[in-house]
């Protein structure tokens, strides 16, 4: 019965990735190589982030929200963005220019998949197999879903920012604003948890709504940028 629970949580966490892969026209392109490269870039980015965190961050004794520490964490979070930029500009095939959005989506999906595997698989295996029942792993799966949508939105916005040459001028600040919002999402969640005292389910709910919101808005932005080029 507990393997059953593990199986449930696993398909909640990893199922959407498979669904995204098969539902969108990603599978029509040969993106396995790109996917693996994206995962490697994510790994390298994570390592760099960890090293920076270990070097610059001091362990705080109190549970309160320390703006200076959080700012430092946010800055380090931008390394994430830099990694994504690197992946987008260096790895995508240059010849399939009109389907950049799918490249971006594919990249974001691989990014989120690597993130989910590295961060969630081990705790899920160890924890969800036990006899004791908690809601924790179901909530973590929902959070993984939210992260997936957020990563895809970030990748899409990133591709808008760096790969498109012709963008309507009015939309540029909005694009940057949302990209910044998505990139600083970890800082926002830790702020909510520490200073407002939100519990895990509430944070997951917030993340889900935020991810749906950003997905919708980035989709709108994308189609808005798409129109002039068509």
């Amino acid at each position: 019965m507990t393997i059953f629970h593990f199986f449930n949580c696993a398909i909640l966490t990893f199922g959407p990735h498979a669904v995204y892969y098969s539902a969108t026209p990603l599978s029509e392109y040969d993106t396995i190589g790109t996917s693996i490269k994206a995962a490697v870039v994510y790994l390298v980015t994570s390592l760099v982030k960890l090293v920076c965190l270990a070097t610059f961050l001091k362990v705080s004794e109190s549970e309160s929200f320390d703006p200076y520490q959080e700012l430092l964490k946010a800055l380090i979070g931008f390394i994430d963005v830099a990694g994504l930029y690197f992946a987008l500009t260096q790895l995508t095939h240059r010849n399939i220019s009109q389907n950049h959005k799918f490249q971006a989506v594919g990249l974001g999906k691989c990014w989120a998949f690597a993130d989910a595997v590295l961060h969630r698989l081990a705790p899920l295996w160890v924890g969800a197999r036990g006899l004791e029942f908690t809601w924790e792993y179901v909530l973590q799966g929902l959070e993984a879903n939210a992260n997936l949508v957020l990563s895809i939105s970030l990748a899409a916005l990133g591709s808008l920012m760096w790969l498109r040459k012709n963008k309507p001028q009015t939309l540029i600040p909005i694009i940057y604003l949302f990209a910044g919002f998505v990139a600083t999402m970890p800082s926002i969640t830790s702020y909510l948890r520490l200073s407002l005292g939100w519990h895990f389910p509430e944070i997951v709910a917030f993340k889900l709504f935020a991810s749906l919101g950003t997905a919708f808005i980035s989709w709108q932005l994308f189609s808005a940028c798409q129109r002039p080029s068509n």
Binding site: M1, L12, T24, G33, W125
Partner: protein
């Protein structure tokens, strides 16, 4: 374009699979220990007597928790073979449980909860007379329950635990669920109790250890071995329903403490040659008490026959700390025997001075029966005069009054032990120094020879926290070493004799374990979750197909087989 891909795949193939196997092995080795609560529990004893099995025959437990309110809500024919009943001893209905076990109704397991006063961690001073009547009632119920469980053959695991806050909340929860008419099974969720224990194995060659201390008397013109000897004997091991909890504060912890204090007093007297008596003193701490005093039997047979013949008489101590009314001297020779009369008169005169009543009880020994109810009977079978001093008025049956669960420190009174020590020491000393009938107080209070109450209290505490069931005490157990050292401090020569317990009793190990309590969700919940997730993924899939490729594509995914059929037709 094709080449780099194949090269890459060739390289990643074996590397990938080896990494995967390593990962799987690492993950499989992770232990699951994430229970909400872990509680120490102690198993009911499992033994064979002459081949007939007794006690709880299983150790591993893995079933759902149930409570006694089960029976009030549903009919008695409810299937409990996959349930562990949690019963607090405080509210136990003894007739119900004895009937249940006698009729051999199936049960997944039994967890009996003892009040915290019986816990070995809960050591307070020997309460004396100020224990409440409620606790006395629990003690009686526990005693009866223990006797019943020891002589029953139970095919499922029975564990004893203590009431603490976790277990109490668990029990309250389980009772609430049961009263609502929903017993915990695999489909409705609830609590699961797991004790991971291996199959209990027989203990091969259980050892019993006898410790004797020799205090020689004053050699006159002859050899000291021709001096007469007086022996003081007490058996130190116990037997109870839960071997890991059988501390036996009264039976026979009090006897051991008294023996050690008497040894100390006489060692003080004998250390100075001017006060050394013309009797040798032999102190013996024997094992195998509950098993027809097997250890005493073996010890006596190992003694040199000449030494045995010099024994004037032996005093055996057994349970002297609970009753303040009367002590009994049990003998097997008829009361009008000269020696017995002398001993009894000696004791009586001292007891009158102490304000204690001592009575004489005679019980004939039956040579053909293997049952040995008192320790002095082993001496009598070898024609050595002996008597047992005890608060028990009747001879206990086999495995009765052997220091089980109900024999707890809370119910003994250390002043009674002091009084009995004074009684025995004074009687012996008057006999040794020839001062019978004279008005003399050798071990007077406030003298250097007074009975030391803190010594008694320390040893009483030590014995009350040490379970002493003989088959589970190894040869070099620290407890036995401690007794040996203490006796060596008070006597001139200490001998340790180790024997194998006679074959009539066979014991099994696994006396304690850790109980993990898990809160589990039912299978229906998991199935429901699977259904929800499945529909979520299907919805997500169709949503994405519609938004990226259009609705026609989605419909065409499902229409493909039929369109092919149409084409071929």
């Amino acid at each position: 374009m094709a080449k780099p891909h194949t090269v890459a795949s060739v390289l990643t193939g074996p590397l990938y699979s080896s990494i995967l196997t390593v990962l799987i092995i690492v993950m499989a080795c992770v232990e699951l220990c994430d229970a909400v609560t872990v509680v120490d529990v102690y198993r009911l004893v499992q033994y064979d007597l002459g081949g007939v099995p007794f006690g709880s025959r299983l150790a591993a437990l893995n079933h759902h928790a149930g409570s006694s309110s089960f029976f009030s809500s549903s009919s008695a024919a409810a299937d409990l073979s996959r349930t562990v009943l949690i019963l607090p001893v405080r509210e136990l209905n003894l007739t119900f449980i004895t009937e249940y076990i006698e009729q051999k109704k199936p049960l997944g397991g039994l967890l009996l909860l003892l009040p915290p006063v019986f816990s070995p961690q809960n050591i307070d001073t020997g309460g004396g007379a100020d224990h409440e009547s409620a606790e006395d009632l629990v003690k009686e119920v526990l005693g009866e329950l223990e006797q019943f469980l020891i002589h029953a053959n139970i095919p499922y695991p029975v564990y004893f635990g203590f009431e603490d806050e976790h277990v109490n909340t668990l029990l309250a929860d389980v009772k609430k669920n049961d009263a609502a008419g929903q017993p915990a099974t695999a489909t409705t969720g609830g609590y699961k109790l797991v004790v991971a224990a291996p199959e209990p194995k027989k203990i091969a060659s259980p050892t019993i250890t006898n410790i004797q201390g020799w205090l020689p008397g004053l050699k006159g013109d002859g050899d000291s071995s021709q001096l007469p000897t007086i022996a003081v004997v007490a058996s130190y091991d116990t037997f109870g329903a839960a071997p890991a909890l059988s501390m036996g504060s009264d039976s026979n912890g009090s006897g051991v403490v008294a023996l050690l204090e008497i040894a100390r007093l006489f060692s003080v007297l004998y250390s100075n040659p001017k006060t050394r008596g013309r009797y040798n003193l032999l102190f013996a701490l024997t094992s195998g008490g509950p098993y027809n005093y097997n250890g005493t039997h073996k010890w006596l047979r190992s003694l040199d026959q000449r030494l045995r013949e010099t024994i004037d008489y032996a005093i055996c101590l057994n349970s002297i700390a609970s009753s303040s009314d009367e002590l009994w001297i049990h003998v097997s020779k008829p009361p009008d025997n000269a020696y017995i009369k002398q001993i009894f008169e000696g004791f009586s005169s001292v007891s009158e001075e102490l304000g204690l009543k001592v009575g004489l009880k005679h019980k004939k020994i039956n040579i053909s029966s293997p049952r040995v109810a008192w320790e002095h009977e082993q001496f009598s079978r070898l024609r050595v005069t002996a008597a047992t001093l005890s608060e028990l008025s009747d001879a206990p049956d086999l495995l009765e009054s052997t220091g089980g669960l109900s024999n707890n420190r809370h119910f003994i009174d250390e002043t009674l032990i002091s009084r009995s020590v004074k009684l025995v020491a004074e009687s012996l000393a008057r006999h040794i120094y020839g001062q019978e009938g004279k008005n003399i107080d050798i071990f007077a209070d406030d003298s250097s020879l007074s009975v030391n109450p803190s010594y008694i209290r320390t040893w009483s505490e030590f014995l009350s926290t040490t379970p002493r069931v003989a088959p589970f005490l190894s040869k070099n157990d620290p407890f036995i070493m401690a007794l040996k050292k203490e006796l060596a401090d008070h006597t001139a020569e200490v001998n340790v004799q180790q024997e194998i317990l006679d074959g009539m009793f066979t014991f099994y190990d696994s006396t304690s374990g850790k109980l993990h309590i898990y809160q589990v969700a039912s299978v229906t919940f998991d199935l429901l979750l699977l259904l929800v997730l499945g529909s979520y993924l299907i919805v997500l899939f169709s949503f994405l197909v519609i938004t990226t490729r259009g609705l026609d594509d989605l419909i065409s995914l499902f229409r493909r087989p039929t369109s092919r059929k149409a084409k071929t037709a």
